[in-house]
């Protein structure tokens, strides 16, 4: 990362956003829908990357933040009849509050204990969803009805079930989060996070309060993941406990590792790549967990920096 080229970095990211915008007009229906889903999930991966890539905290419980957003938005619509923007904010707020509480507790531990604690809190969250199945729908999940997923501004209204509206909403969320991530990691605060990752003791010695910096990172990360979950509930209309299971804590880890941890565009590339691989291979076999497993092992053995991380190491040192 060199200080010299903020313009270069920003134009690259704006270019990616522009490319995604253009793709909306040329993609065939199937891939159009798939890419909208991928963009929402890439937001999840970006939130995960904030903590795992930049602070070096490996959490195995981020499904709980995604789930908080998903249920926060979905249930406020289904049970309380809130409108779309309110439900979206509600989902984000659920994630932020949960992240603050979990961060306060889990950050007392480090390393392996941190992973296990986050995994256990996520498991409690998952079990609570099953336990309160009267309201949450349990493992069957619930469908957010189509009429509730219409965004109204005065006279104009946007139906989030319409493919174009859905794609553009996903793109808007993706762009905002991408630019926020870019700004955060380039800021002084972002440098402190990287310093904590590289050497926490030394950062503490330099006078930084590492605990509160890490806590902020957990809250930012959890909030982004919740935004992704809330968007998923609103755009795809399904709220189910499988999204809060351990598997959904591991998938963002996989996407980030694949794309390149601590790169702003890595999560997108990882998510696109993994979905594409699964899409291609599912034509030949249904054994998609096998691919996920093999990918994880091969990545961690031979490719620990991921796609974009390796590119940055070899050729493009300026990538943020």
């Amino acid at each position: 990362m060199s200080e010299a080229s903020p313009a270069k970095a920003y134009s690259l990211h704006l270019g990616v956003i522009a490319l995604l915008f253009m793709l909306s007009f040329v993609l065939p229906d199937y891939y159009h829908g798939l890419l909208a889903r991928i963009m929402v999930l890439a937001v999840f991966a970006m939130g995960y990357n904030m903590l795992f890539g930049y602070v070096g905290l490996l959490s195995l419980g981020h499904a709980m933040f995604f789930g908080a957003g998903l249920y926060g938005a979905g249930l406020t619509i289904i049970q309380l009849g809130w409108n779309v923007p309110l439900a979206f904010l509600g989902g984000i707020a659920c994630g932020a509050v949960l992240a603050l509480a979990i961060g306060l507790l889990a950050l007392r531990t480090t390393g392996v204990a941190f992973m296990i604690v986050t995994m256990m809190f996520a498991q409690v969250f998952y079990l609570l969803i099953l336990y309160f199945s009267t309201w949450t729908g349990g493992d069957q999940g619930q469908v957010v009805p189509q009429p509730a997923r219409v965004l109204t501004f005065g006279a104009t209204s946007f139906d989030l079930t319409n493919p174009t509206v859905r794609y553009m909403s996903a793109l808007a969320l993706f762009s905002i989060v991408l630019l926020i991530t870019l700004a955060v990691v380039r800021s002084r605060y972002g440098r402190v996070l990287v310093a904590i990752r590289e050497n926490e003791e030394r950062t503490k010695m330099l006078g930084y309060d590492t605990f509160s910096n890490k806590l902020i990172a957990v809250v930012v990360s959890g909030t982004i993941c919740a935004a992704s979950g809330a968007a998923y509930a609103l755009l795809f209309g399904y709220v189910g406990s499988s999204f809060a299971s351990v598997q959904y804590s591991i998938l963002p880890l996989l996407w980030v590792l694949l794309g390149g941890a601590a790169t702003t565009l890595g999560p997108l590339i990882g998510t696109v790549f993994m979905y594409y691989v699964i899409d291609v291979t599912s034509g030949y076999t249904s054994a998609y967990l096998l691919i996920v497993g093999v990918a994880l092992i091969l990545l961690v053995l031979f490719f620990p920096k991921g796609i974009l991380g390796s590119i940055r190491q070899r050729w493009l040192g300026w990538l943020p």
């Binding site: 490996l58 195995l60 507790l105 889990a106 007392r108 531990t109 390393g111 392996v112 204990a113 992973m115 296990i116 604690v117 256990m120 809190f121 498991q123 409690v124 079990l127 609570l128 099953l130 336990y131 351990v246 591991i250 880890l253 590792l257 054994a287 998609y288 967990l289 096998l290 996920v292 497993g293 093999v294 990918a295 994880l296 092992i297 990545l299 961690v300 053995l301 620990p304």
Partner: protein, 293 residues
């Protein structure tokens, strides 16, 4: 049934859970203690043990005890061999880096689970118990096989304790656990100890699974609950403490049995998981462990 007998039944069921859990958790604890590796695939080794037990016992005709005994010997050996290969191919190359090994064992979990689904299928299949003797208590009859699980588990735990404290193998393992570099300097082949411990951990899980499969059926997703419960036991008991592991297993098994019977199994899991997360947060060395180095 009155409250007393009901409680007795719940406690008996809980003790069976404890017995199986103690064995599974012991495997996880050994691997964690000696190698500092969190084996997320531990539950899948458990599941493999159960699935192989079904395969072996259906392949052998005759009295059910024959098939069961064959499974009890062969299934752990196969699982141990698989674990040894995985350790050689993956974990050793990662230099036992704690975070990388977690990701790699998650990968193993998915691979084993998918292979089980592809070759064994999604059905739950039963294994016939080696004997079906019922012990008649004044209030209800209780399966003699379940009681024998508790006995078998106790025997195996005592055997493991003897090996760890009274033999040269145990000494080498403890030396490696205490300080692997010094152990290496004294001529202990640390790599081989690690391979052996990983295989042993997997075999303990497989044995536990073979013992439980006659009462709970083999299913490709059955590894998830034992994994979580073993984590809980290992954390509450304190790393590498055999006594802690047994006490914690009894505690968790009993409370799981009693809460499940009087309230709901999901609630029992929620309470146990939350409790343990809190133990980890506020007392990371576990209830019985000494402070980690």
């Amino acid at each position: 049934m009155h409250f007393g007998p009901h409680l007795l039944l719940a406690a008996l069921e809980g003790l069976v859970t404890s017995a199986v859990l103690a064995l599974t958790a012991l495997g996880l604890s050994l691997v964690f203690g000696v190698m500092r590796v969190v084996n997320v695939a531990h539950g899948e080794f458990f599941m493999l043990g159960a699935v192989l037990a079904w395969a072996i016992s259906t392949a052998i005709s005759g009295h059910p005890a024959l098939g069961f005994l064959a499974a009890l010997v062969i299934a752990p050996l196969i699982v141990g061999a698989i674990a040894l290969v995985a350790e050689r191919l993956v974990l050793r190359r990662l230099n036992y880096n704690p975070e990388a090994t977690i990701v790699a064992t998650i990968g193993m979990l998915y691979i084993i689970q998918q292979l089980a689904l592809s070759f064994y299928g999604p059905e739950a299949r039963p294994v016939e118990p080696p004997f079906s003797y019922r012990i008649l208590l004044p209030w209800f009859g209780y399966s003699g096989y379940k009681l024998s699980i508790i006995a078998a588990s106790a025997l195996l735990l005592i055997a493991t304790w003897l090996v760890l404290t009274r033999t040269r193998i145990g000494l080498v393992m403890r030396a490696t656990q205490y300080d692997s570099e010094t152990a290496q300097a004294f001529g202990i082949a640390v790599g081989r100890v690690y391979g052996g411990v990983f295989a042993l951990g997997a075999m303990l899980a497989a044995i536990a699974a073979v013992l439980i499969v006659p009462i709970s059926q083999a299913h490709y997703l059955m590894g998830q609950d034992p994994l979580l419960l073993s984590f809980i036991v290992v954390i509450i008991g304190g790393l590498g403490s055999l006594r802690g592991t047994v006490v914690a297993a009894v505690l968790i098994g009993l409370s799981d049995g009693i809460i499940s019977m009087f309230f709901s199994p999901t609630l029992a899991k929620i309470i146990a998981t939350l409790l343990v997360a809190m133990v980890l947060v506020f007392r990371p060395q576990g209830l019985f462990g000494t402070a980690s180095r």
